[in-house]
């Protein structure tokens, strides 16, 4: 299991498009993904779950990947957050 903290850098926060990108990335891998924000913990493969976080600009998330390909999943996800999901 790997845990990693990420910060939301794109101005619009995790709206529909980034949420879809996260879920699509997560479902490519066999590992489980949990995302934690404050007192909320959701399944990273569920689109409604990710949107329910309503993670705004500058807020912080904790990603927890667990499974045989957890490292690859985590790397690709971190990359998404780093590149601001291709947004401003």
């Amino acid at each position: 299991m790997i845990r990693r903290k990420v910060q939301i850098k794109n101005e619009l926060g995790i709206h529909a498009r980034p949420a879809t990108m996260i879920v699509k990335t997560a479902t490519k891998y066999r590992s489980d993904l949990r995302i934690i924000k404050d007192d909320m913990e959701i399944n990273g493969k569920s689109i409604m779950g990710v949107m329910t976080l309503a993670a705004e600009h500058n807020s912080e998330l904790e990603l927890v990947a667990d499974g045989i390909d957890e490292q690859y999943l985590m790397d690709e996800l971190t990359e998404l957050f780093e590149t601001k999901f291709g947004e401003e």
């Binding site: 619009l12 926060g13 529909a16 879809t20 879920v23 479902t27 309503a54 705004e56």
Partner: protein, 321 residues
């Protein structure tokens, strides 16, 4: 291009239009290649330039009274010239008749003349409807066509995926079957109409059981003859690699006879209740038609929430900073 023989038109519509053939039966060998009609008043007046001879020629009260006012010899010459074109046929409305020698020339040139007691306008409207339908572009699609809450839903997908079983379940839930297995789609003035390819009734094959008669089994309320096509739902086995629509923000469409039809790629897996999902697809489509798009509403609310929260967070930063 489809061709309609005069004989076929006569056989199918003689009762509805009360058609009577006044020329020799052999004149019915002619064919019709266009859905348009023509009133040849100008041709009888001697203006034969741009004469739409390939259309069915309608002679109403105006034309007949003009023909009858013409000098016999002049009419004879004119009609011989008109009849030298390859005309599919004449139809005289209001139960009127033409001078006898016109009939002889028509017989000679193998052009049929019919009469109908119907009024010119009403008859032309009805005939246009029939011809439009006959000449409408059409194609047959492998699938099952059902009416769900008034929406025509075409279920497609590989053989054996469960289209018929799904339709059966929908019928049991009170929806209506138009046809199973082969759906004939017609383009009727910008809208697609689906129906059965034959007139045998509403039969269906259920794997392992054989043929069943849906109308007999579930009653007349479970079937209908035709329906406009509103949505196509492609049933497909669940594949992990397939990129399924998650939010419904993107509308996929397919082209059927030049018209755009919304399509939904629906992954199915054991234990999934497909018929309930089909009902949901129909209701969601109705909501969208009425201007309510759930995925847009939800994502808008999320965006507003994100903006509000970001504003508060950034204000807090500045205070601290």
């Amino acid at each position: 291009m489809k061709i309609l023989t005069v004989k076929e038109l006569y056989q199918t519509m003689k009762e509805e239009f009360a058609l009577t053939l006044i020329t020799h039966p052999s004149t019915m060998e002619k064919t019709i290649s266009t859905k348009y009609l023509h009133r040849p008043g100008l041709a009888f007046a001697g203006h034969i330039v741009r004469f739409s001879y390939q259309r069915i020629q309608i002679l109403g009260e105006t034309e007949i009274s003009f023909i009858r006012s013409l000098d016999q010899n002049l009419l004879y010459e004119r009609f011989k010239e008109i009849a030298s074109y390859d005309i599919p046929g004449f139809i005289i409305t209001k139960g009127l008749s033409v001078p006898e020698h016109m009939e002889y020339i028509a017989d000679d040139m193998k052009i049929p003349i019919f009469t109908t007691p119907m009024g010119t306008d009403k008859f032309m409207n009805e005939l246009r409807k029939y011809l439009n339908d006959f000449f409408a572009p059409s194609k047959t699609i492998h699938g099952t066509f059902v009416d769900i809450f008034g929406q025509g839903i075409l279920l497609t997908g590989k053989s054996g995926i469960g289209k018929s079983e799904c339709a059966l379940e929908l019928v049991e839930r009170g929806h209506r079957l138009i046809t199973d297995d082969a759906v004939k789609i017609k383009l009727r003035s910008d809208s697609l109409i689906g129906s059965s390819t034959n007139e045998y009734g509403h039969f269906m094959e259920v794997r392992g059981v054989g043929l069943i008669d849906v109308e007999k089994m579930f009653g007349i309320q479970a079937v209908r003859k035709e329906k406009s096509l509103d949505i196509q739902v492609e049933l497909m086995p669940w594949r992990d690699t397939m990129d399924y629509e998650r939010l419904g923000l993107r509308d996929n469409q397919v082209d059927i006879l030049g018209e755009k039809v919304p399509i939904i790629y629906l992954p199915i897996s054991p234990g999934k209740n497909v018929s309930v999902i089909i009902e949901v697809i129909s209701m969601n489509h109705i909501l969208k038609m009425y201007g309510y798009d759930a995925s847009k509403v939800y994502t808008q609310r999320l965006q507003q929430d994100l903006q509000k929260k970001a504003k508060i967070r950034n204000a807090n930063y500045e205070e601290k900073g």
